[in-house]
Amino acid sequence: MTTVIRVNDLGKRYRIGLMPQKYQTLSEKISLTLSAPWRALRRVQAPLADAADTIWALRQVSFEVEEGQVLGIIGRNGAGKSTLLKILSRITEPTEGEVMIRGRVGSLLEVGTGFHPELTGRENIYLNGAILGMKRAEIDRKFDEIVAFSEVEQFIDTPVKRYSSGMYLRLAFAVAAHLEPEILVVDEVLAVGDAEFQKKCLGKMGDVARQGRTVLFVSHNMSAILRLTQESIVLDKGHLVLRAPSAEAVDYYLSAGNARAGERYWEAGEVPADAAPFRPLALRVRDAKGNVADTVRSTEPCTIEVEYSLSAPLSGLRIGIYLSTARGEYAFTSFDTDDPMLFERYASRPAGHYLSRCTLPADLLNSGRYTIGVNASSYGVRRYFMDEQALTFHVDPAGAPGMQWSEPRPGVIRPRLRWSIERQ
């Protein structure tokens, strides 16, 4: 096996802009304004000289990727995933360390870049192909395949500004997908498009991997990571914290990064300003005895509670929870005003401190790790707050149906069904 990517002690430092200055007097303000060009000039001459207003987006990251390997890259927002991809695809330069790359790097994080709305689909295929580094002969050769993949045959000579967003996306993806680089970098593209299209994208990625080419796959979709990659690296605050088989890496990411033992608090700084007047305070999982718990038993009921405050009255507010498995598949969605009676009663909520609580019945969930997402919205009006991975918890199967056999049981739910057996 040859090494196609070797990352050695890689670091990238960004300047986070000028620290906010406090102007005391008008004359100070004027002198600061007048000296601004001079200070700017000094910064150009000595880039990144002072560490005070800089941040390391990536630091001391080292890893290698073998030819034909499909490597997952996971981490929370701001962990350095995008920076890493930007360096690997040569968009930006590292601040320290070095990367050795063998072969052409293509990426699916740039679908549609350089597309011009006034040009037709056909023209954009050629233009975008050239931007992605394809030769014209190569595009000629793959043209029909690209058009077929994008399913926009009838509109190929129509300006893309007349396309629906789905058509636009399919065409853009089709070009990028046919680049056939030695190394393919895939970012969150799968988050866009309809389910059918996402399936197609994943299929294409699988093809690429099977052809023995190297794929770097970045996603928040743990189920896709598990399905498509054997090995993953976990990034946290710019550092590589783990490289392991994907199942282990995903488990690490879901538990270490997110969970705080059955309870999640939101500090004021963590809540986006546009969530107001909604302000999430905490999310908790409680076991049958009412204790906050990271692990609950499948055979006992448990409670999920969302604590929040409203700084102004809201009408039509509903608090929802999304429960999904460690693989990223939704188990269910439920809102606190699903019940018509509660819906009537809480048609509008005055400002104040609230607790919305629901109980999961016993014998509902199968064993495994689950993620709770929180959503606060007024239907048809706006979404105030959303955190798809607010908290994770574990369901222990002790005493659940079928525990006499030690095999793992597929399925999200583990209901206690009433069986009868008759001999006839």
């Binding site: 700017a40 072969g103 011009h116 006034e118 931007i131 580094g133 014209r136």
Partner: protein, 281 residues
Amino acid sequence: MSQSDFIILRPSRGWASLNLRDLWAYRELLYFMTWRDLKVRYKQTVLGVAWAVLQPFLTMVVFSIFFGNLAKVPSDNIPYPVFAFVGLLPWDLFTKALNDASRSLVSHQNMVTKIYFPRLILPLASVFAGLVDFLIASLVLVGIMVYYIWQGQMRFTWSLSLLTLPFFLLLALITALGAALWLSALYVQYRDVGHILPFLAEFWRVLSPVVYSATLVPAKWQLLYAINPMAGVLNGFRWAILGTPTGPNAPMLISVGVAIFLLLSGLFYFRRMEKIFADMI
């Protein structure tokens, strides 16, 4: 794939090399970007490509009325409209190239922040796209000249000096590209450049013999005047096409020298700043 076929990415220090080989590898992209600029420029316009003709033509009419007829600016014994149009041809090419190329990086931000390609492609494509307008407007010049010759107001003699036109055209492009390399790289960091550009174009035009003849400039100032490469370009154009007494001379060498210096220094500055484009833009 051969063992040697790999690249190393590491922080570059100081003045980066020009890396023209990379530019050559991406020559098709240069072609497509130029082609796109042309294709898109006159989409959804009523007059379409006629704009390439109308702009210099109307400017010429206005200049002829105010500078030719009213102010009676001397035009080396050439009918003023012809004199002005021959100057406007390279001048419009120059300002358009300078303006578009200087803005090219910022106006293609999403390409710069998402894909690797030699960034030089962007200003280069903007400069080349202006050439087509130039060629179309040149046809109009032929028409105007035929009219004045037919009216008996001027004479035209074929001469070998016409063959020097491509050289002066190249000089205009080099000047535009050289200045635009500096300005586009500065624009990434300082949006002030966007405000400077229109002013710079006006200022530069006054310093160039567009509406007047360079022969108006006193002899003792000619050397200083020639520091502006566009003076050399405009003098050259008028000399090559109209036979004015502004042909190649010692000051013109200064113009050429300044243009080449502008281009080389611009290239190196651009390459030096290239690494921060994606982070700063």
